[in-house]
């Protein structure tokens, strides 16, 4: 479980996150949703420590993440897997080397053991026989899946996904969403997904937090989405003609 209490973050004089408090539960897919520029990515980067918060607290279970030293933070980070918006695979390494990277850095496994783990992670994300290709040689959807395989290679306790569906077709997006949900439940990890894809919200949103202009505006589950009377939330969720039509039918 990850919890944040009253966190604020600003860049120069521009306040991006304003007094955000939330709890992200273990074994559930926690979604952070909001318009582009609402502060979702900044919140996610604060959570993983890529940005320091101005004030407020971030807890990884009982560990006060933003108050601990570099070494303790490093130990927490070994339990974190992260899927970046563009995949962030290492261009000069093959698929196999990318997934093996965290094992190389943080374990003393033999090459055979590492290879076995890599192949099991790649099998999990349904990437088979692509071990020796470079990221540029595979599709965007496959790159995302390889990035997920890399993120889970060390059996993380926390998984962060920054817009996992951006740039993907609807069918591949659903596959990625299902994969994230499956991994979350199977390994009982705390997963936080940044998205503005309504298919993800309605498909995997065990818990949803809506960020509007840097503030938490709404919180609920996917079942609560259709019954919300929050104006800003509704204007975001039902922005398209299709979602308005679905709401009308339901």
């Amino acid at each position: 479980m990850i919890s944040v209490n009253h966190i604020n973050k600003s860049f120069n004089d521009h306040s991006v996150l304003k007094d955000i408090s939330a709890t992200f539960e273990q074994g559930k897919t926690n979604l952070i949703i909001g318009q582009s520029g609402s502060g979702k990515t900044v919140l996610l980067k604060c959570l993983v420590g890529l940005f320091d918060v101005d004030d407020g607290d971030i807890f990884y279970e009982d560990v006060h993440f933003n108050k601990i030293g570099f070494k303790e933070k490093k130990e927490i980070r070994k339990k974190i897997g992260m899927l970046f918006q563009g995949g962030a695979l290492f261009d000069s390494s093959t698929v196999e080397e990318n997934v093996m990277f965290p094992l190389d850095m943080f374990t003393n496994m033999t090459f055979e053991e590492k290879l076995e783990r890599v192949n099991s992670c790649l099998k999990k994300v349904n990437i088979i026989n692509f071990n020796h290709l470079f990221p540029a040689e595979i599709s965007g959807g496959m790159q995302k899946r390889v990035a997920i395989a890399r993120a889970i290679a060390l059996n993380p306790k926390f998984l962060f996904c920054d817009e996992p569906n951006s740039g993907l077709d609807p069918k591949t997006s659903i596959l990625i969403d299902e994969l994230i949900k499956e991994i979350t439940e199977e390994y009982n990890i705390t997963t936080i997904v940044n998205t503005h894809d309504m298919n993800s919200v309605m498909g995997i949103g065990d818990k949803i937090i809506f960020i509007y202009e840097g503030q938490k505006w709404w919180e609920g589950t996917k079942e609560d989405v259709l019954h919300s009377d929050n104006k800003e939330f509704n204007s975001f969720v039902f922005a398209s003609a299709l979602t308005r039509k679905i709401k009308g039918i339901l």
Partner: protein, 246 residues
């Protein structure tokens, strides 16, 4: 103020770079890869430029010393000292600032804008050390070899063109090369090379590491890396010459 900020950030980055490596074996493998990428791949360009520069120095010296009272061995002597003292360390350093510096800045800058550096940080890897330290070690180890190569090829280039054009004989050229030779000049050239290698690698890596934006900014960082490295080489050339030869 901005300059102080930049210098401060540069030294903070160096502090991160020289932190204790996570796994020494991985750093060793990376260093070997970097030696190939930054060092071995520079051999041809260094050899070509050195051969032509040696040739030009010889011809220019010959045409500027046509006075019959000046001995012909001066051509070899001038070529040797020009190559040894300045060309093979400083000019090759400037050439490598262009080739290696832009390569390092664009590689690290691209990793920054495509979030590969963020990915390393999130995993708990010291990205500065992982990406930059092997490059520093590789260039510091290999650039002295490039300098020695440049000296040898430059002197051979000067000899072959000098003899081919008839401005000097082989014996005169060799006499010039041997005349009043100071072995310390080689040490001086190698010390400069090591310092320049460090400057090129760290300044270029610094420019790439702190890129913000996209491909346009990566290109700009690459240009800044070459300019800043070149200026630093010229400045340190002056300082080292004063310190080592005065």
């Amino acid at each position: 103020m901005r300059l102080f900020n930049l210098v401060g950030s540069y030294f903070l980055l160096l502090g991160k770079v020289f932190a204790k490596p996570e796994k020494k074996m991985i750093y060793y493998k990376l260093t070997v890869k970097e030696i190939e990428k930054l060092g071995l791949n520079s051999i041809i360009i260094v050899a070509i430029i050195s051969a032509f520069m040696g040739a030009v120095i010889t011809i220019q010296t010959a045409y500027n010393t046509e006075n019959p009272f000046l001995p012909s061995y001066l051509i070899g002597l001038a070529a040797r000292d020009s190559i040894l003292l300045e060309f093979s360390s400083t000019i090759v350093g400037l050439i490598l600032a262009g080739k290696v510096g832009s390569n390092i800045a664009s590689e690290i800058g691209t990793m920054r804008v495509t979030q590969q550096i963020d990915a390393l940080e999130v995993m708990g890897v010291n990205s500065a050390s992982y990406l930059i330290l092997p490059k520093i070690i590789a260039t510091i180890l290999f650039n002295p070899f490039l300098t020695m190569l440049s000296i040898v090829v430059g002197i051979i280039g000067g000899w072959s063109v000098g003899v081919f054009t008839g401005v000097v004989t082989t014996q005169e050229y060799i006499n010039g090369i041997q005349y009043a030779f100071v072995p310390y000049y080689i040490t001086y050239a190698l010390i400069k090379t090591v310092v320049f290698a460090f400057l090129i690698t760290t300044i270029s890596a610094f420019q790439g590491y702190y890129v913000e934006g996209g491909s346009l900014e990566v290109g700009q960082a690459s240009t800044r890396a070459v300019v800043a490295s070149s200026v630093a080489i010229l400045l340190f050339n002056l300082i080292l010459t004063q310190l080592l030869l005065s």
